[in-house]
């Protein structure tokens, strides 16, 4: 019988759960070192950093880093790109994932289902580095498959590094390509847990396929959709660094249409060595993210408290 719920002195609680506290210690130390200290390290945004003086002793310089950041006129395009790309990833991502989850749940044929699911899941297992090899073999100007097929029809090949307009489609396409199989599994699991008597009743009433999808399936998986979307919306100002760094990298042409905050932070830090500017952009991004996720949570709490994250 557990008598002490909230009662008893703190000292006694500590003594009773000393082993639990010890078990927790490694993770607490880890989180302090790798999350909380860097959080306070964000003061770098207000400092004129030099490596010798380090984080604490480098002189303060007020809002100068932010001033430079604003004067660079990069802030708005970076923010807009990050936001719009992520918005596209979320919207198309959910549409593809939910659609394929519904399709997978409806089709018959065990083997067909299994094999197609395995194939769709494949891109999830590779890194963005490997996607670079894929881009080169499919869309390379001289040797890529696309241009060879186009040439066969007498159409001039496309140079993706000159026609930067194709990049938004490429980036969104590859992100969808990589995420759909993986994401659809979450929704598929949620669909399979729907009470099948609902569908049987609908069948008796003569409901059509689409009626069942829109009146049973989608409403039933709404909580899952909301949680998944909320999780991504909370991160809407955090770009997919791997995707953009590997595929776009430092290509000046492409950066004009695909520069995101994360790339800018990375470049400022490691290419131009401007720690202050990099930290300022990073802090700007972290604050945006934080505000967004808290706001999302607040909105959800108003609509339906059951779905909140915290």
């Amino acid at each position: 019988m557990k008598r002490k719920k909230k009662k008893g002195s703190i000292l006694k609680s500590i003594r009773d759960s000393r082993i639990l506290l010890l078990m927790l210690a490694p993770a607490v130390v880890y989180v302090v070192i790798f999350h909380y200290i860097p959080m306070f390290g964000a003061v770098l945004a207000f400092k004129d950093f030099n490596y010798v003086d380090g984080i604490l002793r480098s002189p303060w310089n007020g809002l100068q880093n932010f001033q430079y950041l604003i004067l660079s006129r990069k802030l708005w395009p970076l923010t807009r790109n990050t936001l719009l790309y992520n918005l596209a990833f979320i919207v198309f991502g959910v549409i593809f994932q939910v659609t394929f989850a519904i399709l997978l749940s409806e089709i018959t044929g065990k083997w067909f289902k299994k094999i197609s699911q395995t194939l769709m899941f494949m891109p999830y297992f590779i890194s963005w580095v490997v996607v670079v090899a894929i881009v080169q073999s499919l869309f390379g100007y001289e040797t890529g498959i696309l241009n060879h097929i186009l040439a066969r029809f007498g159409v001039e090949g496309i140079n993706i590094y000159a026609n930067t307009g194709v990049w938004p489609y490429l980036l969104i396409g590859f992100r969808i390509w990589k995420d759909t199989g993986y994401g659809s599994i979450v929704y598929l699991a949620s669909i399979t847990s729907i009470d099948s008597s609902l569908y049987e009743a609908a069948d008796v009433d003569g409901a059509s396929f689409f009626q069942k999808v829109f009146h049973i399936t989608l409403p039933s998986i709404k909580p899952t959709i909301i949680i998944m979307v909320l999780l991504s919306v909370g991160q809407i100002f955090r770009g997919d660094f791997g995707l953009f760094y590997q595929l776009v990298g430092s290509n000046a042409n492409v950066l004009e249409v695909a520069d995101i905050i994360d790339l800018f932070v990375y470049r400022s830090l490691l290419t131009s060595g401007d720690v202050g500017m990099s930290a300022a952009a990073g802090l700007y991004q972290s604050v945006l993210c934080f505000v967004t996720v808290v706001f999302c949570n607040w909105v959800i709490k108003k609509i339906d408290p059951e779905y909140t994250l915290f």
């Binding site: 002490k4 639990l20 078990m23 200290i37 241009n147 990073g282």
Partner: protein, 296 residues
């Protein structure tokens, strides 16, 4: 009734075509990379990458493995960091998750929030990088390849939810028998949480195997490069290719060096193992994703 079954048939076919097309799109690039890695360079240069294999050549693989020291070293770095990192990550994640859900643990909620908050607010790359290089000595250290991925709050939440569903009576009866909390975790909880362990092992191993980011940030020494970073270097510059060819004693001119096919062969070498094992482990990923979808 007849039109209805006819409709059903047509709909089944339609849905299967849609899924089939998408599954094809997902798998197609892998097929291209595989066949082009077995094509001779001259064919690729003159005819480009193609849908069907035109000839068969293992030249690219022969060159990659002519002097295999670099590749073996990169493989070793990837495998050793994956094994060590995964062990630490799974242990830390399950142990923390286990403590947080124990209902007799007085500060469960407070600590949960302490961990969860790091998902809400993030110091960002710059302070992390400065802190890790200047103060923690991450530059060219194996620590940089293991520690940044060694603890993940999301997986801890998954573990916490999993343990929560295990009957509490197990803990109580073990306590009655005089077992301490660490023993309960090690001897009772871990053995009944095999599906959770399998899932966490898979996810963490995948993260370590595919990591190039930490290697790029902190590692400049060639002998510490992981496979993915090695591949990244190779794809981005022909320098790595030249290095291999030169060190293998084959002085080749730049034009005759099979750059394209070697890139593809390296991609196969770096990705092959994971794509070969994953169909057998797929169910654990599926399980993990569904556990993860439960709210924390």
């Amino acid at each position: 009734m007849n039109t209805k079954t006819g409709n059903n048939m047509a709909r089944q076919i339609g849905m299967k075509v849609l899924i089939g097309v998408f599954a094809f799109i997902c798998a197609f690039p892998f097929y291209i990379i595989l066949i082009s890695s077995f094509t001779s360079e001259s064919t690729i240069i003159t005819e480009g990458y193609s849908l069907l294999p035109r000839d068969f050549s293992v030249e690219a693989y022969r060159l990659c493995f002519k002097n295999p020291a670099q590749i073996i070293q990169a493989y070793w770095m990837t495998i050793s960091t994956t094994v060590v990192g995964t062990l630490i990550a799974v242990f830390l994640g399950t142990m923390t998750g286990y403590v947080l859900q124990r209902r007799d643990f007085r500060w469960g909620n407070q600590f949960s929030f302490f961990f969860f908050f790091t998902m809400l607010f993030n110091g960002g790359l710059t302070p992390t990088y400065i802190w890790c290089t200047k103060y923690l000595g991450f530059k060219n250290s194996v620590l940089a390849l293991v520690l940044p991925l060694a603890f993940n709050v999301w997986y801890t939440i998954i573990a916490k939810n999993y343990f929560k569903d295990i009957p509490y009576e197990l803990v109580e009866s073990a306590k009655m028998d005089g077992a301490n909390d660490l023993m309960i975790y090690l001897r009772i909880m871990l053995p009944v949480a095999k599906p959770l362990l399998a899932t966490l092992i898979m996810f963490n191993a995948l993260r370590y195997w595919n990591d190039w980011y930490n290697c790029m940030l902190y590692i400049s020494e060639n002998s510490l490069r992981t496979m993915q970073y090695f591949l990244q270097n190779m794809l981005n510059s022909i320098k790595a290719l030249k290095e291999i060819a030169q060190s293998s004693g084959e002085m080749m001119q730049q034009q005759t060096l099979p750059q394209e096919t070697m890139k593809m062969a390296m991609t196969v070498i770096a990705t092959g193992p994971i794509l070969l094992v994953y169909p057998f482990l797929q169910k654990y990923f599926v399980k993990g994703l569904t556990v993860g979808a439960v709210k924390g």
